[in-house]
Structures are given as C-alpha cells and as structure tokens.
C-alpha cells in the first residue's frame, strides 16, 4: 500500500518496524492519520521513538510475532463483531480462497504435532503436492471442515489470548485491547493498516510472519482498500528497486524466477511452462520472458535459438548472501564485487565474513570512504589483536571511488513501488564515477576482451546488447536509453510501448522489466520525473509500477457488485454508464470487465477470472487464506521459535523450530541450543535514525557521526540491577560466534517480559557500528549467526541469544577505538 494511504487508516499497527526512526518521512502519514483520529499501535520489544508517538505500546518478545498475529486471527474469528457484521464474511467468501476445499492428502500441524503433511526427513523439505486443492470443489458457505476457511480457523484455535500471554509476554488484557482496536477499526467503512519492516523479515519464519499478517488482513477485509493493507517498509532507499530489477541471485527482472538446474529449466519451453499459469495474470509470462530476452540479446535472440535462453545463467543451489560467505572462506568463491555494501560490519557472523574476505583472490570495492570491508586487511579487530597479520592476507583489493547521489542521474524505487527520478547536480570529482558508468564500461571492456574468443562463455558476452550512447565529460551511458529499454519497445521500429499489455511472445517486442513498462510511454516522457501531488492517489507524482497503480488489488475496494463498500472508503468502483471501472486510482483490474462477468469453461489467463476476483496475480483471482504452493515451509503460517531462543515452543512443544530452516552448522558458525543456560538473554539488533545500515554513509560523515557517536546496548534497569550495571558502564556480550564490549544504555524503554511464568530479559543493540569512521563501536554482528528464512533466504538477526557481563574485554589494543 502507498504510504500516503496510511493517512486514510483508522488504525495503524506498526509491528516489526521502528517506523518513526527508520522511515521518518513516511511516518508523516502516520502522524496525519493520528491527526484525523486514528489509533496508532506499536508492537515492539523496545519502546522506541515510534512508541513515543503511539497510543498503545505493546512490549513483545522478539521472535514471537507470529504467535501474536495468530492470536489476532483466532480472536477475530471468534468475535461477535466478525460474525455480526456481514462485510467480513462476504469479503472472505467472495475475495479469498476460504470456500475452496483442500484435498484430503493435506494434514495440518494440528494433526501432525506441529508439522504439515509432505515432510521428507531425508531432504529436510516439504513436498507441497499434498497441500493441493480438491480441484473444482467449493463450499460457498464455508462450513465444510475441509474448506480453507475452516482449516485455518482450526489451525489458529490454539492461539488463544492465554497462549499469546505465555509465548509473547503480552498480558491478555493488553492483547485484547489491541485486538479490539483492530477489529473495531475494520469493516465496510473503516480500515486498519499494518506496517512492517525488517524486524519481520529477518527471522527464520520471516515470510510466514508476513503471510500471517496478510491472512489476518484478508479475514478483516483490509486488502485493496484505502487505508488498509500491509505496508512493507523497505530497509533503505531503492531496495525495492533492487528487487524489481534484482540484484538477487534467484530472480530475473520483474519477479520472474531464475532458471534452476535442479528444476530442469534447461530450455525456454520448460522454463516458461514452469512460470506460466493457465489462469490469472501469470498466463502472460511468456510475453515478458521473450521480451526480456530480446532486450538482453537483441538481434541474436531468435525463435530458432530459444531467444538465447541458453546464455542466461542457471542456478544450482543457494547463492544467497549468507551462503556466499562460507563459500568465500572455503575458497569456492574467489572474487567479489562489493558495491554499496559493508559486509565486514553488516553481515551476520561478521568475523567469519572478514575471514572470507581475507581468503579471496581479489575484491573490487566501490565506496566513498574506506569502510571496514575495504580496510579489513590492515585494520580490524583481528589485526588489532594480533590474531591476523596484514602480510598474510593475499586478497588483492581494488578500491574505487564512486559518484555520490547528487553527482549522478538515477532513480529511487521506494517501498510503495514508486519510481522517482533524480537529476545530477554536479559532475563527480576526479576519478569518481557513477554506477552506470562503471557497469557500462566494465561490460564494454569485457566485451572487447572476449570479442575474438570462440567459447560459449565468450559468446555469452558477445551477444549481449551493450550499445548505449554516452554523454557528459566522463562518457556516462545515456540513462534515458536505459529507461527506454526497461520500458520496452517494438523491435522493428524501436517505437516505445505504452505498457506491458503491448508486449508479445513472438520476439517482436523487447522489454527489460515488464512491471516497469509504461514508465516512458513516449520518447523523452519519463513519468518518474512527475512531481505533482494531490490529496488523493497523487497519480502524477512519479510512476508506480505496475501501470501507475497506487493501491494494489484495488478492485477489492468495491463490493462484488462493483459498488464501494461504503462512502467513506470509496476508491475504485464500477461505472455502469461508462461501462468501466473508475475511481481515484488506476484500477488494478481489466478496465472494462463487468463485475458480473463469469468466465466460460475455455477461458484462459485473466479472462478465466470472474468479475469479482480482485487478486489478478493469483491463479484463481482470490486472496490466499491457504497457500497450496509457493512457500516451502507450509501452507498456513505457524509459530516456530527463533533458531536461538531461551524458551521452548509452547504452541508446538514437539516441533520447536521450523523443520526446513537452512542452516550453516560449522565450527565457525555454531548455534545455541534452545534454552541454553549459558546464553539466557534475547538479543535483538536494530538501527537508529542517525545512522545508515552498516554506517558507510553515516559514521564517516561528521554531522551524522556526532549524533550517535558510539556503540551501545540498551538494557533494562531490571537486568542492569542484576549485574550492578549503571547507565554508561561498559558491558561485554557473548555468543558462540564472538564477544564484544560496548556501553550500557540502561533504560526503562526495555523491560523483562514474563514468558511461561519466568522473566525473559531482552537486550537491544544497534548494528551500525564498526571500528572505522568517527562514530565507532564494536560490531553487533560479530555476535549473530548465519541462518536463513527458507523462502526469502533472508538472515535472522532480530532474535538470537547471548550472555551479558559487566566490564570490558581484555584486549591488547582496545579494538573498539573508543577512548576511555
């Protein structure tokens, strides 16, 4: 949902996010909603600057979010309001797969003691075929025990307020206060929004936490409506853009999966078969794939040669960030480009990462400052302690100066898929060059280097289209041409297309990223440059993919017959006179498809969806209460404890941790057992307004560094009292990965929670700090471990365990760099 839409919310739940601190500009819309009377709820282990602006602060145990959300689902479905307001049932019946009957091979965690059916202990993975629909069977009344609605109702029935109190440490009355606020702020004329950030994603169950929230929002009818939905607050500027046109190992542009060897994606047809769906929008996938191959390979891509599909790299395993680090240390990966990243500080188990860096043959660094990742070979905790000698490190480092933001043209795609263009103010000085310059000229030189070689690898480079014009004193590639390529054009006359609807699968169109198509509908008309705001959808401010839609699935803002659910929450509706969808936003629906449209038996693609099926990307047009495919850890969100936790799983005592978590169990990345008495405290890492991620852009800038000049850990007075720690004292934190020293910020903003009858202490520590720059401190990630969410391959850094003691580390040279 767009951030602006928050201003229309009646209740905003911020959970897994410290929005005021880390998204202060977007937070203005929360303030606006509050101004209009909305209830703001912040659910977080710490009382942060966000909590200070909330009506309700709910302290929660880090890593127990799913139990809380599950509790909300159970509370909602058992409530009088849900039963008595027809809206809820109608929304679920019409717009979700609640009525769908699930095949009887499916067994829930209720039946299998915390596991789903289809688990293969050999491979440690689920076979999702047992979760399939009983095709063609529906129960519109949603009373059949095998319909999705009843299954999830049963699944969440154990998530009672009592259980929430035991698992999350949230007293029942407080939980009920939250649940009531959300419930009364949902309905035909009211909407509740959820905001989350990386404190949901960075868990071994991160994807499921978000799914659970989506499930709750579907049940409450808060999807596709103004002021409703889920706002995924991205980690930093244009991270959204770098997943759209990804820097990720497992995606191609536009959320098309990377071809995989194991899945047999060895030719174009088998690849397209895997992506294309008979029904729904993904039926169009071949058009996007072929157009994209035409954009990459140009004239060389023909129907005869599978549009050069052979040249697209295929992946054969986990090459996520966490997986790459041990590969570097073990010598599998020998070279690294590190651009806009500081893994020596920001990566989990950062000591292992530094050891990995030290074992590379070469590394190319582009950064304005000599950040820790560039400096590790001559200055690091290991070098300072004498454990490592610079002369023993063989890595050859190429440290290159980049242009900074005002020195280059470019775009940001923010959290709500909004692309905003920015222009260069000055040329970068001396040897500093923009990323486009670097990538373009690197590619150009590589092409020249391999121009005469007759190997398949060389051919891969030779066929690549790499022909942008250059401009300016440094020969920067013309970004307008890059945008044109992303937007798409017809191959014959290079005429720009006006949107992805014009893309074809016959090689007549080229498009770099289908979801961005339409961003430049005519030469020179870059819609991301638009800057005209208004009080509604602000359609003329930037360009929001897809097709400039602001609220996704906004067909759901109207009832099945196409009328707004209420006057107060009008957004998109069916205009009978004009025979088309209209409203404040661009309809996320075929513009002239009638609400009462019913597909014929042979209809394919989007035409196979009914006129009241708003979720056009889903195979059947319905929101998923039950996800029969797509997630590797189960079709229904389920609470598992973080990989490291001081308590066992009260909801599923037999299955404490998720059974499918990818681990990196090795001597230099050891994990703590559940309830390990040596590591009794929950540690959660976080960020501060004053710094940017691993500090490369803030700890080296005096104006920012002075605002939070040194590392610290936030500790409750209750825990501090046990150790005789006073505000400002030094403390030492320890895990099996490492130990660090830092200042204690003893603060009432943290408090112990009662979990299953005993107190659990939580410690918070910002992970910005390193030894470099002006704001220094020990590295929080020296404590964390490499461990991932099985779906997104995102690490877990928001909940692990540690030990605490008072005093400093004995060190030869005082590696923290902070003077006494």
């Amino acid at each position: 949902m767009p951030q602006q839409s928050l201003a229309d919310s009646d209740c905003i739940v911020i959970m897994g996010s410290n929005m005021a601190e880390n998204h202060p500009v977007g937070f203005r819309f929360v303030m606006k909603a509050k101004e209009r009377g909305a209830t703001i709820i912040h659910i977080d282990p710490r009382f942060s600057r966000t909590s200070a602006m909330a009506d309700l602060h709910v302290p929660i145990r880090a890593g127990s979010d799913l139990a809380f959300l599950g509790g909300l689902i159970n509370y909602a479905l058992s409530s009088d309001r849900w039963e008595s307001v027809p809206f809820f049932r109608e929304f679920v019946q019409s717009y979700t797969n609640g009525p769908t009957i699930i095949g009887d091979t499916f067994k829930d965690t209720e039946d299998l003691a915390g596991m789903f059916s289809g688990y293969d202990p050999e491979s440690g993975a689920y076979e999702s075929s047992t979760w399939a629909y009983d095709e063609g069977h529906l129960d519109p009344e949603m009373t059949d025990p095998r319909c999705a609605f009843q299954i999830i109702k049963r699944h969440f029935s154990r998530y009672t307020p009592e259980m929430v109190e035991q698992v999350c440490g949230v007293p029942q009355e407080l939980f009920e206060q939250v649940a009531e606020a959300i419930l009364t702020s949902s309905g035909p004329d009211r909407t509740t929004a959820f905001c989350y950030a990386v404190a949901w994603t960075q868990h071994t169950t991160g994807t499921q936490i978000i799914s659970c929230c989506a499930l709750l929002q579907l049940l409450l009818g808060n999807m596709g409506r103004p002021g409703g939905g889920i706002l995924a607050l991205r980690g930093h500027a244009t991270i959204q853009g770098s997943t759209d046109i990804p820097t990720l190992y497992h995606l191609l542009p536009g959320y098309i999966s990377m071809p995989m060897v194991d899945a047999g994606h060895l030719d174009l047809q088998s690849f397209m078969d895997a992506i294309q769906q008979p029904k729904g929008w993904w039926h169009n996938a071949p058009k996007y794939i072929v157009s994209f191959l035409k954009a990459w390979y140009g004239d060389a891509a023909t129907g005869e040669n599978d549009y050069c599909f052979d040249y697209v790299p295929k992946i054969s395993g986990d090459y996520s960030f966490a997986a790459m680090m041990p590969m570097m240390k073990d010598g599998t990966i020998k070279g690294l480009f590190c651009m806009g990243m500081n893994p020596a500080v920001g990566g989990q188990n950062s000591k292992l990462i530094r050891e990995g860096l030290a074992n590379l043959d070469w590394m190319v660094m582009r950064d304005p400052y000599e950040i820790e990742t560039a400096a590790f070979w001559h200055d690091s905790p290991e070098v300072r302690s004498g454990e490592v000698r610079p002369e023993d490190i063989k890595t050859e480092i190429f440290f290159l100066p980049p242009a900074v933001t005002p020195e280059k043209d470019g775009s940001y795609t923010n959290t709500q898929r909004l692309v905003q263009w920015h222009e260069k103010a000055v040329d970068p000085p001396e040897d500093c060059r923009s990323e486009p310059w670097f990538m373009y000229h690197l590619g150009r030189r590589l092409k020249a280097l391999y121009a005469d070689e007759e190997t398949p690898q060389a051919r891969q480079l030779q066929v690549l289209t790499w022909d942008y014009d250059t401009e300016g004193i440094y020969d920067d590639p013309r970004l307008e041409q890059v945008i044109e390529e992303i937007n798409g054009y017809t191959v014959r006359d290079r005429k720009l297309v006006s949107g992805f609807a014009e893309l074809k699968d016959d090689g007549s169109t080229a498009c770099g990223c289908w979801i961005y198509s339409g961003i430049m509908p005519e030469p020179g008309l870059n819609l991301a440059r638009n800057r005209k705001g208004d009080d509604a959808a602000s359609l003329e401010w930037g360009f929001a993919w897809p097709a400039n839609r602001r609220v996704l699935y906004n067909r759901a803002s109207a009832d099945p017959s196409g009328k707004p659910w209420s006057e107060r929450k009008r957004w998109i509706w069916w205009d009978e006179e004009q025979e088309r969808w209209t409203g404040y936003d661009v309809p996320d629906f075929p513009a002239t498809k009638r609400p009462d449209y019913r597909p014929g038996p042979d209809a394919v693609g989007i035409d196979a969806h009914r006129g009241d099926a708003p979720f056009i990307m889903m195979p059947d047009g319905h929101g998923l209460l039950f996800a029969p495919a797509g997630l590797v850890d189960g079709p229904i969100p389920t609470h598992y404890e973080p990989w490291e936790s001081p308590v066992t799983n009260l909801l599923y005592p037999e299955q404490v941790r998720s059974p499918v978590v990818p681990t990196f169990d090795r001597p230099d990345n050891q994990y703590h057992e559940i309830g390990d008495p040596r590591f009794p405290y929950v540690l959660t890492t976080y960020r501060l307004t004053e710094h940017h991620t691993a500090g490369g852009m803030s700890r080296f800038v005096p104006w920012l560094a002075e605002l939070q000049p040194g590392g610290f850990a936030e500790i409750s007075p209750e825990l501090a009292g046990e150790f005789g720690i006073d505000n400002g004292d030094w403390v030492t934190l320890t895990t099996l990965r490492g130990e660090i020293e830092t200042r204690a910020l003893v603060t009432e903003r943290l408090q112990p929670l009662t979990i299953h009858g005993r107190p659990v202490h939580q410690i918070g520590m910002p992970w910005h700090y390193g030894w470099g720059g002006m704001a220094t401190g020990d590295i929080a990630n020296d404590l964390s471990a490499l461990i991932e969410d099985p779906n997104s391959r995102i690490h877990q850094a928001k909940a692990f365990t540690c030990d605490l003691s008072r005093g400093r580390l004995p060190r030869t040279n005082g590696a923290s760099g902070d003077d006494e």
Partner: protein
C-alpha cells in the same frame, strides 16, 4: 473585544513554532542546520543521556534535540496506553528564541547583534569582536563563543534563506512539521488552536512556552521562536520565568551611583585633614 496579544511581537515578525507533540526526535533539523550553515561537527562524546549526544546549543550547534525518558512509575511499571501525541519519551528541538526583547542584543557592546527586518536577532560576523558578553546575557543559554574563530555565534533563523524567500533549513527538513516557520502572529494563533485541540484530546499538560506567561516573561515580552510543551519547561532545560537581564542595568547603576556618592562623601570625610 480584542484580547491582549500573547507576546509583544512586532508586526511582520517571523519565527518558529516548535511543536514537541509532533517531534519524533529524528534530528534532521540539527543536520539540516549544520549543512546549510556549514557548521562543523563539534562533539564525538557518547553521553548516555538517552539519545541526546548533542547536549546543548553551542557556537556550532544551532538546533539541539533533547530527549527525556519518563517511563517507569515508582513501582517500575511501564505504561502501555499512552497519551495522544508524543509521550513518555519527550523530545524537543531547541533553538534560539529570537526574543522580542533580546538579552544578547541589548548586551552587545559593538552593535554586532541586530534585529533584522524579519524581527529576528542575528550576530553580524564582520563586527563581532568576541567580547563574549552576549553569552551570559542570554537567559536561555543560546549564543556561544566559537573555539574556531572566537566570535559569538547562534541561530540566524536562516537570514540568508529568508532574504531569498525560502524557509529556514530546519523547518524545511522537519518531516512531521514539528518545526513550523511563518509569521509569529499566525503561528501563535495556530499554537493556541493546537493547544486547545490537544487539551480536548486529554493532553492536559499541553501549553505554549514563549508567551508572556511562560518563557517570554519579565521584560522579554515573548519569544519569536516558541514551543508547545507537555511537561514543565524545566524538564526540557528551559527556564520557566526568565528575566531580561538588562532590566537590571539601570537599577544597578542607580544603586552604584548612590554608593559612589556615599563613598565620595565618606572618602572626603576620611581624607579630610584634622
């Protein structure tokens, strides 16, 4: 019937309304100020004073956000239901008050400190000779001598930006409109409405700091940069009823002249030949 204005602000006076109930403590104002005015970083000491590592307004720091944690009650219990708008962790962006009658301006012996056409108070850097008398003459601890150029510095309310028709850098950067810039007259009206509104929502403690009642008292006659606070001003390190120091000048001269006369007579008498 016209009620008496809340301050003695002159017609057309420009100023700040800093509404702490909207402040999220992001310190964008501090950074924007330092960037626009090219002020150096001046402190790299971690304080442990909650999130305030700035500490104070200084020659190189013209905006300063203070942080006060007020969470646990006597039994140690933390609140869950909070007051509408900022509560329990108070944050306030402090700045030069641009007093209607300014102590620093009156104290300045060189005429370096002047009142501008916007009714703001600035220190002309080409005139200041660093006597430092404005420093203790400010009841709010705003001006300070720079250890770099040894002249007095303080917020100019971005006089250069105002001349160019722009709002001050801090107000421009503030993401939640906690810092608002405009005509003092308008801002005061807005502030009064806001306080009334807040009180209506149960924030009984909300009040304006910087009128004749509080902050702009005893000869100061109001602050052109004023605040909406929700706790006693002293919580934010602001004096409740400051005085204009120069109101003491003439009485003190008078007592000194009387004493001088007495001494002259006494001296004459004691020096008189026998």
């Amino acid at each position: 019937m016209m009620s008496e204005p809340r301050t003695g602000a002159r017609e057309g006076a420009m100023g700040f309304l800093t509404d702490t109930t909207l402040c999220i403590g992001c310190k964008a104002c501090e950074v924007a100020c330092k960037q626009w005015n090219q002020l150096p970083a001046d402190n790299f000491g971690y304080t442990g004073n909650s999130y305030d590592n700035t500490g104070d307004l200084a020659a190189e720091t013209w905006r300063h956000v203070s942080f006060v944690e007020q969470l646990a009650d006597d039994s140690g219990a933390r609140p869950t239901s909070l007051n509408a708008f900022q509560s329990n962790w108070l944050m306030m962006s402090d700045v030069c008050k641009h007093c209607v009658n300014a102590g620093c301006l009156e104290a300045c012996p060189t005429g370096a400190i002047v009142r501008t056409e916007f009714d703001t108070v600035i220190i002309q850097q080409d005139i200041c000779n660093g006597c430092g008398y404005c420093v203790p003459a400010c009841p709010f601890g705003v001006p300070a001598l720079s250890p770099i150029d040894h002249k007095a510095h303080k917020c100019t309310l971005c006089y250069d930006r105002l001349r160019g028709g722009m709002e001050p850098a801090c107000a421009k950067a503030c993401p939640t409109d906690s810092i608002q810039f405009g005509l003092v007259e308008d801002l005061m009206e807005r502030a009064s409405d806001r306080v009334e509104n807040l009180r209506g929502r149960g924030v009984d403690g909300a009040y304006i700091y910087g009128d004749r009642e509080t902050g702009g008292t005893h000869g100061i006659d109001g602050l052109n940069a004023f605040f909406i606070l929700t706790a006693p001003s002293e919580t934010y390190n602001l004096p409740a009823e400051p005085e204009l120091p120069q109101d003491k000048t003439f009485p003190s001269y008078a007592s000194t002249i009387l004493a001088a006369a007495a001494f002259a007579i006494g001296a004459a008498l004691s020096l008189r030949g026998k």
